[in-house]
């Protein structure tokens, strides 16, 4: 890939242009280095892979023991009539690879259980494993292996109008969360160079034109100097902030012709920002402090993330602040004043980066250190419960999730339990409720009592699953609606992009999509 941004982009860059603008060249490199395993080429499976092949994932491998049926043709876009009777893994791989010649695809025609028994190392080669439309209980051995290897597992399902997506990972770390712009300008605790620069600006000496183009941070810093002459502390209350803004307002010039106060936009900006600038917030946000207090921060493993956090901790202990991002948002100012201000912030950010780099126990690429520092206020660690805990334990938090879902129109909690009950039904009868020759309504009674079993085993009291949910699940009979599978496949592929690029924040941890309401909820328990 061309890192030289000054030439006409290559064919490759043009192809990926619309996504490079989101996750950058480095995100693309991470994506291209990834190898994802998809268990089962169901509609959900192939839709997920499609959305990864298009943006150029490195490799995918499909594990699937089944053969293409006529029914598959009515829901899955990656089979043709000529494939009927052939292994699904082969047919899907063939048609998916047509989408992007840079991607490599493999097919393994076997069950996950067989592969696991014969060659457990097989699953260790992947960046992420996605299990599609498999009952949870059948996934336990694989989930245990992946958990130990710290390979994230996604469990995805399309079940009638209901979609399900669960992330299973002991830990996933995010450097670039993209949650917000981190452009804190530190006006209440300016670094010396910034303060000196502000104090060198003598507002009274400036022409009206210059005066109305002084960047607002300088006005605020000069304001704070003036404020301190009569106040011991910074403005904190609403009245004090108002008083501060009023002081700035009084500094505005009169128009050259003497007809009232000049319309100085920079002052308007400074006054408007008073509320946020003087908001009392800790220098280090509590979420980031929690990371610094994590045992892994003091004793980092070999991951770049924790080594960088370790260096960050050293930085914070010296500076009592996070490294500066170096970003300066646009503001009303003349070019020279703005660029001069930007230069100050950039130099300070570079110095902060150099500190982190020196504090690192082992060398890491400069670009990575720079990205880490720029996004230090938005670092995220995601840890989910294991599948084993979910399936076998009394999960106290499940009761909380139940209590919180009272009145939820998507009925996410009820459908989650109903889906677990469908698995139980499958384990007992080797078929899902609502499938087979008899009338689908006949399974409702047993499914309903299985919902109660799931709740009882999980230690959730005082909750019942609505009959309408149970009956709908029987009606669905594990049908794969293309629309629901495509919706979940879209979500799943984006969660995979997040996992392999360490950008954006994966959902923690169970998403239920209700295709009836057209809405979803994320359950965390």
């Amino acid at each position: 890939m061309s890192e030289d941004k000054n030439v006409v982009p290559s064919q490759r860059e043009q192809r990926y242009d619309r996504q490079l603008r989101l996750w950058g060249d480095h995100g693309q490199r991470d994506l291209e280095a990834a190898h994802v395993c998809v268990i089962n080429a169901t509609t959900l499976g192939t839709e997920t892979i499609k959305n990864l092949v298009l943006p150029g994932i490195g490799k995918f491998t499909i594990v699937d023991p089944e053969f293409v049926t006529t029914e598959d043709l009515g829901t899955n876009f990656f089979f043709e009539e000529r494939h009927i009777g052939q292994p699904r893994a082969n047919a899907a791989t063939e048609l998916l690879l047509e989408l992007n010649s840079s991607v490599e695809g493999n097919a393994k025609v076997d069950t996950m259980a067989n592969v696991l028994a014969k060659d457990p190392d097989f699953f260790r080669q992947f960046s992420v494993v996605v299990a599609c439309d498999t009952p949870l209980y059948a996934l336990l051995p694989l989930a245990t292996l992946l958990w130990a290897e710290q390979i994230p597992l996604l469990v995805a399902r399309a079940y009638g109008m209901i979609g399900y997506l669960r992330l299973v990972t002991p830990e996933h770390t995010v450097i670039e969360s993209h949650i917000a712009a981190f452009d804190d300008l530190r006006l209440t605790r300016p670094f010396p160079e910034l303060l000196a620069h502000a104090r060198s600006t003598i507002l009274d000496d400036l022409s009206l034109d210059k005066h109305s183009h002084v960047p607002y941070p300088i006005l605020v810093l000069r304001g704070i100097d003036a404020w301190r002459e009569t106040h011991a502390d910074l403005p904190r209350t609403r009245a004090e902030k108002k008083e501060f803004a009023g002081m700035l307002a009084s500094w505005r010039r009169t128009k050259d012709d003497g007809s009232g106060v000049a319309d100085e936009e920079n002052f308007a900006e400074a006054m408007a920002k008073c509320n946020t600038i003087f908001r009392s917030a800790p220098n280090v946000p509590s979420e980031i402090q929690a990371l610094l207090d994590d045992p892994k921060c003091s004793n980092p493993d070999k991951s770049a993330f924790w080594q960088l956090c370790n260096a960050l901790k050293a930085f914070v202990s010296v500076h009592n602040d996070l490294p500066l991002s170096g970003a300066v948002p646009d503001m009303h100012a003349d070019s020279r004043s703005y660029v001069a201000l930007q230069q100050l912030y950039r130099s300070k950010a570079a110095a902060d980066q150099a500190f982190i780099k020196d504090a690192l126990a082992s060398r890491l690429p400069n670009a990575l250190v720079a990205r880490f520092c720029k996004n230090a206020a938005g670092l995220v660690v995601v840890r989910t419960p294991s599948l084993e805990t979910e399936l076998t334990g009394h999960c106290g938090k499940l009761s909380d999730a139940a209590a919180m879902s009272v009145g939820d129109e998507t009925r996410a909690f009820e459908f989650y339990i109903a889906l677990r009950a469908c698995d139980r039904f499958h384990e007992k009868h080797n078929r899902y409720p609502g499938t087979g020759a008899h009338a689908h309504e006949e399974d409702a009674g047993e499914l309903s009592s299985m919902c109660a079993d799931v709740l009882r085993n999980a230690g959730v009291d005082g909750v019942t699953i609505g009959d309408d949910c149970v009956k709908e699940m029987c009606r669905y009979g594990a049908a794969q609606l293309h629309s629901v599978a495509a919706f979940v496949g879209g979500m799943t592929s984006q969660e995979i992009v997040k996992l392999v690029t360490q950008q954006y924040v994966p959902a923690n941890h169970t998403i239920i999509y209700n295709g009836v309401q057209g809405d979803s909820r994320t359950l965390n328990f």
Partner: protein, 441 residues
């Protein structure tokens, strides 16, 4: 678990067994009246229903696939664009060999090949080139557009098909549901509109973020960002030095702008001008990924399936999606604007005064939040005769009506309660406005 040995023999079942579970069985969440129709729904869906997909881009490709696999067999698709290399990261019905070919035609052909029995009719044309008779043919219209103007035009067209009786009651048989999707980066939305009955695109106009334009004085005098320098090259230097129109896909054009922007940035000590940014600003590129298109199109296709079959409740009426931080969705009901330009079926009042110039009135229609028109043309009736106040096209008419622009409304013979018809790129047909004149004291 089943083993490969069990499955060596192909299972022959019905192709539509999956959707049939929803269509041939009823359940507690089905729409009332669904029970009686069970059994007739799939033949209706497959033989009688006609769907129009507007746009064959990121959303359009997904929509065509989704609808074909939800059992729809009569689909039309309209798109005026041809295929570009930068489409291939999400528009999966196209290959490198298709670059330069019409999107609608290539997409239709691909779907027909992959899903035998599904007939897809392509229209390689502008939406405005089709008349009411064309749009009237469909059971549901689905929009996958990236332009707000085009979306407003389609909304306006679908509302123009409505019939009302003398009492002002809507004839529901004239109503064609509109399902609309939109994406930008990791965000998207889907909405279900029953024209004349539920909130329409115009009612929800405030949901769209207005386009950011940098002030000209910043671009010309106090550039601070690389974007300001690029806009200077595009808006000031290009017209000064070049005669041709800027083509954002022409590397020579972008290179020219890039170099001029870089020179200007160097002059002011501004960093960050790159080729990619230059092209992004010039073409106003909206970042897009396959996953978001997939999610939003699927949500739309699911609604089309539900609206046509009544197999279960519909989205009521607006869905927001964002998967930057976890996966966030929010479905909620957006209320109708009782004074909506498009769906209220009554003339809309516009406040003005006899002294106001026609130019001022046109500017009001463009800048007010309620109208947000793009280039209004106005006609009215004075003394029982039709009078064209201003028309931007054709050129001869523009020239003939241009002198009216500086005249006051009074000079043009317009009075309080005067009805004025307005045409605009955002409107199919015409808007009816009522001038409410404030008399000067």
């Amino acid at each position: 678990m089943s083993t490969p040995e069990h499955n060596k023999k192909p299972k022959m079942g019905d192709r539509w067994a999956h959707i049939d579970k929803l269509l041939s069985r009823t359940g507690p969440l089905a729409v009332e009246g669904f029970d009686e129709a069970v059994g007739m729904i799939r033949p209706f869906l497959q033989d009688s229903v006609r769907i129009l997909v507007i746009g064959a881009g990121g959303l359009g490709c997904e929509l065509l696939k989704d609808l074909a696999l939800m059992g729809f067999r009569n689909i039309d698709v309209i798109d005026m664009d041809t295929i570009d290399l930068s489409n291939l990261n999400r528009q999966f019905l196209f290959r490198e060999a298709d670059i330069g070919s019409p999107k609608a035609e290539v997409a239709a052909k691909f779907i027909e090949k992959r899903v035998p029995g599904c007939k897809v009719t392509p229209h390689f044309s502008r939406i405005e080139s089709k008349d009411r008779a064309f749009y009237k043919q469909f059971t549901v219209v689905v929009c996958g557009l990236d332009s707000i103007v085009a979306r407003r035009w389609v909304n306006s067209m679908m509302h123009s098909l409505l019939r009302y009786d003398e009492a002002g009651e809507l004839d529901q048989s004239s109503m064609i549901p509109l399902v609309d999707g939109g994406t930008e980066g990791f965000q998207g939305n889907a909405r279900v509109i029953f024209p004349g009955m539920t909130a329409c695109v115009e009612c929800m106009l405030s949901l769209y973020t207005p386009q950011v334009n940098f002030p000209m004085c910043t671009i010309a005098n106090t550039p601070r960002l690389p974007e300001h320098c690029i806009e200077f090259a595009r808006l000031v230097l290009w017209p000064k030095h070049r005669d041709d129109q800027i083509d954002g896909d022409n590397p020579e054009h972008i290179t020219w702008l890039f170099e001029k922007a870089r020179e200007r940035a160097a002059e002011f000590g501004i960093g960050g001008v790159t080729y990619r940014l230059t092209q992004g600003v010039t073409k106003r590129i909206i970042p897009n990924v396959a996953s978001t298109s997939a999610v939003i199109a699927a949500a739309c296709a699911n609604e089309v399936f539900k609206v046509v079959s009544s197999c279960t409740k519909y989205l009521d009426n607006n869905l927001i999606f964002n998967d930057v931080d976890g996966v966030y969705t929010y479905a909620y009901k957006y209320d109708r604007d009782p004074d909506c330009l498009t769906c209220s079926n009554k003339p809309v009042d516009v406040a003005c005064s006899p002294e106001m110039s026609l130019t001022h009135l046109r500017e009001t229609l463009c800048t007010s939040d309620k109208f947000q028109l793009r280039g209004p043309g106005l006609t009215t009736t004075v003394g029982g005769k039709n009078k064209t106040l201003y028309m931007a096209r054709p050129a001869a008419l523009e020239q003939a009506t241009r002198p009216n622009l500086d005249k006051s409304l009074a000079e043009l013979g317009l009075e309080h309660n005067q009805m004025v018809n307005v045409v605009d790129p955002t409107v199919a047909g015409a808007l009816r406005l009522r001038l409410v004149m404030k008399q000067q004291p």
